[in-house]
Subunit: 301 residues, 4 copies
Amino acid sequence: MNVFGEKWTFTSFGESHGAAIGGVLDGVPAGLHIDFDMIRSELERRAGKGMVGVSTRAQHEPDEVEWLSGVLDGVTLGTPIAFIIRNKDARPKDYEYLKHTYRVGHADKVYELKYGIRDYRGGGRASARETAARVVAGSIAKQELAAKGIRIRAELIQVGAETNPAKFADTIAAYQKDGDSIGGIIECRINGLPAGTGEPIFDKLQAHLAFAMMSINACKGFEYGTGFGGVTQPGSEINAISGGISGGISDGTEIVFRCVFKPTPSTPKAGIKGRHDACVATRAVPVVEAMTALVLVNYSA
Amino acid sequence: MNVFGEKWTFTSFGESHGAAIGGVLDGVPAGLHIDFDMIRSELERRAGKGMVGVSTRAQHEPDEVEWLSGVLDGVTLGTPIAFIIRNKDARPKDYEYLKHTYRVGHADKVYELKYGIRDYRGGGRASARETAARVVAGSIAKQELAAKGIRIRAELIQVGAETNPAKFADTIAAYQKDGDSIGGIIECRINGLPAGTGEPIFDKLQAHLAFAMMSINACKGFEYGTGFGGVTQPGSEINAISGGISGGISDGTEIVFRCVFKPTPSTPKAGIKGRHDACVATRAVPVVEAMTALVLVNYSA
Amino acid sequence: MNVFGEKWTFTSFGESHGAAIGGVLDGVPAGLHIDFDMIRSELERRAGKGMVGVSTRAQHEPDEVEWLSGVLDGVTLGTPIAFIIRNKDARPKDYEYLKHTYRVGHADKVYELKYGIRDYRGGGRASARETAARVVAGSIAKQELAAKGIRIRAELIQVGAETNPAKFADTIAAYQKDGDSIGGIIECRINGLPAGTGEPIFDKLQAHLAFAMMSINACKGFEYGTGFGGVTQPGSEINAISGGISGGISDGTEIVFRCVFKPTPSTPKAGIKGRHDACVATRAVPVVEAMTALVLVNYSA
Amino acid sequence: MNVFGEKWTFTSFGESHGAAIGGVLDGVPAGLHIDFDMIRSELERRAGKGMVGVSTRAQHEPDEVEWLSGVLDGVTLGTPIAFIIRNKDARPKDYEYLKHTYRVGHADKVYELKYGIRDYRGGGRASARETAARVVAGSIAKQELAAKGIRIRAELIQVGAETNPAKFADTIAAYQKDGDSIGGIIECRINGLPAGTGEPIFDKLQAHLAFAMMSINACKGFEYGTGFGGVTQPGSEINAISGGISGGISDGTEIVFRCVFKPTPSTPKAGIKGRHDACVATRAVPVVEAMTALVLVNYSA
């Protein structure tokens, strides 16, 4: 389903090559002043403005948000905030040849199995374009959190085998030149979250963060604190490393988690035409932040 | 909160040293024949019967399930199935000295912060004892899935740095002897799941699996398919490895995921008395299967 | 909150004098052929086209639906269906004088209490205009139900003290002439619903129908079967009258329920300018049908 | 399903002639002092202690609550509160003759249709006995509300055609003597609820109250404020009567609603043996209060 959260309920809609994508954010309190410039800036981060290895389309589609409801004179009304981004640059012809073809590694086949029908135009809902709506909603959540002193900051910490950020651009450019693609790891840090956020049994904070991250296209893993690497450390040594969460509940220290993004399988090297990224992880950074923010505003305490 | 799932809704309750732990499983169809022997056997796996490095208590607490409702003559009625396991071996005195002490790495402190009150008796809800109720509910789910040809099988694939299963017992015994503890990685495989299970955007199958696994105590990470290791593989190579899920939806092939469990921080080496396991991952195996089953029965298709 | 249903999840948005109202309907199966003419016709019923006592605005606002997603070539894709109706005839000036005035009997005051801010423009979300989005979503639900042989038909059965339908128009016209308004009772009948729809304890069919009807503006009461009138009949006599629901579950016979709508308090006689209906119950008929349809598609069986 | 509420989540279980009925109440804050005497007293009201026309069984079944979790030394822990009431007086033989008989007006037939299996023992889940668990959970909710100055008080205001409370006992006794049964109307008043409780669109306060009341066995209608009677009053007159709710949100004044309960169809006059009440409405009074309390604790503000 296309609904996320029970307190701040975010409904996402829109096919990547239909009339528009958009969302409805219900549960935002009245009286929040919206910083539209920040939202534009977040959409530019997602579009990969000025980044290496990003497809032409992403850079040239100006994501203009049209606000339909919930905001009056820049202030939230407490009613649902609906917004759309029109698909100006829709070029279905690029994909026409795929009408009777399944793209390897893409969800096209399972979609047709499930729905008995397939919107072959650019992946339909499965397209990464859907994440633009998440970024808009998440930006509003981030503004609410920032007003409470809670900061979320994600960054790329690994591209392929490379862990030196200064070399990420060159690494990506090399794969792009080769008609190939490569994965990456994003690390996200949450600061200022009061101790006591989370629930002890099923609704653990790390469970909701994992759910949100794994709902992002191409994310193949989530870990926090000592993560997978911690498997070799005995209990006597990792004692003090909580990753900011203890028993499912924030403990007041910095929360650190990581997630891994696989490379896109649709590459020229794999024989797939179209416009795709050499490293989707670069553009996933603001999406990770947005989903983190949507998780946090859904907790009461 | 203590409720999991919307179709098969499982409510868990009980403090580890209170009168009883238990659960209510609502949404189970009428007419399912319950195999009580299998449930007993799953509880013995969770209790670590015959395993190395397991605390005395776990091995000696006979988890006897008392069925309160929802089953008549061994067949489900379609009404909520309520069950309890009494805490026979409750020995609160062991923990009396902790009344005014916080255990390092435990959730005691955040609990008191959050609730203003603390049930110091053996970790209260945070205790791993709560997972016995998950195993009972998950066993019923597994029986329903088995009847449809869906099989779930988890196993320990790594203990500390050791990846040879033949050496796991020795490795654990060594840490136990040292008064220490060690983590492990569990791999879970799902077979027979029809293609089409899952939802494309937020309710992706991998997101629900990650949520369920991260809700288990001591689980620090989740990955599926190529996972974290895949970060070094270019798109042209990992193309065909889906991990059984594509675009959030099962594709009909075997689903494979892994999760990592940290060692318990309450060890003699860390100065904590009590009864604890040298490697909690061994006993987490049936819990991973149980939670996987509860995820799968909550999807319609 | 502005979200209804868990299987077919309908999210409603839009202030009556903002840019647009609209909705997102998630969970509609793929492959349903949408009859757009039927939806237009239902919106005209709600607008009171050709009816007595209806405000000028309602009759002249042509509710044109703009479809944003979820439908391709008239067939549903299985993805969320988003639609908007622009507020062409927005005339905020009519309400300017209310900026610092509370309208008697209106929700303005509680809104300001609750949200600390008030969208004084025509009642904001509290306006009956919001029901247009319900009618669009409900119409799609009705089309799905009709394809399964389930028919929903509501009609006005009482206006003030009048129970002769032939005299309803005259009765309403008399109140309108007097600058006053009057209430009405709507009866709704569901036919073709298979026995077994509903749940026995909390999620009884009648509970969900009551919830849906009481969520419509101005609805002050709900009853089914023998209803309030049945209080004087002994058990030996009403035995056989189930109203189509037994123990919370449909029994396969016709379901009959009624709901009462109070007159609008904003009348010229009460000193309130603006454009209002003499009998809101007349236009509530398709809204009652729409909400009934949204209840029924949210049950699985 | 058997789960009510999202903030205070109440799960009910148990067949009337199985081992026990009970419930789990999740979401109760830590630190609430439980008044067990008040709960016992509420259960006696539900059992009809000292009332006319109540079946022998109800009066003689001493509903003893066994507390399983969530409470330590009389104070809530913030963990799920589980409780059971054993069915001591279970006498399945009384119903043995019904094993192959459907009781007229009862839900037996639809249950078998829906579940393919039937727990013929005394109505199974459909029995009014299930409401005892609601009363226990609702009593805890009432205690929380009382601590905030919110009072709920329901009373019987009509039995058959009789509206004089002094004559209710005689009226019921007459129907009982005749081997028949009769319906009644209960009025409930909520005082002290702060203005601002409720939501404007679907989750209106009156919608949730209607849902909760219509989920009680034998309830055939709900109305608030002017209700069905108000249909004859013009808008100019009913202006000021809000019933305490405006636009779905409490306005700070007393909330008044009514619901009607039909007579039990299982009477000696209808040829049904067993133990049944002459007027179920008398014993429904504390159930109405309990469900009202469960609605109110599920709102945040």
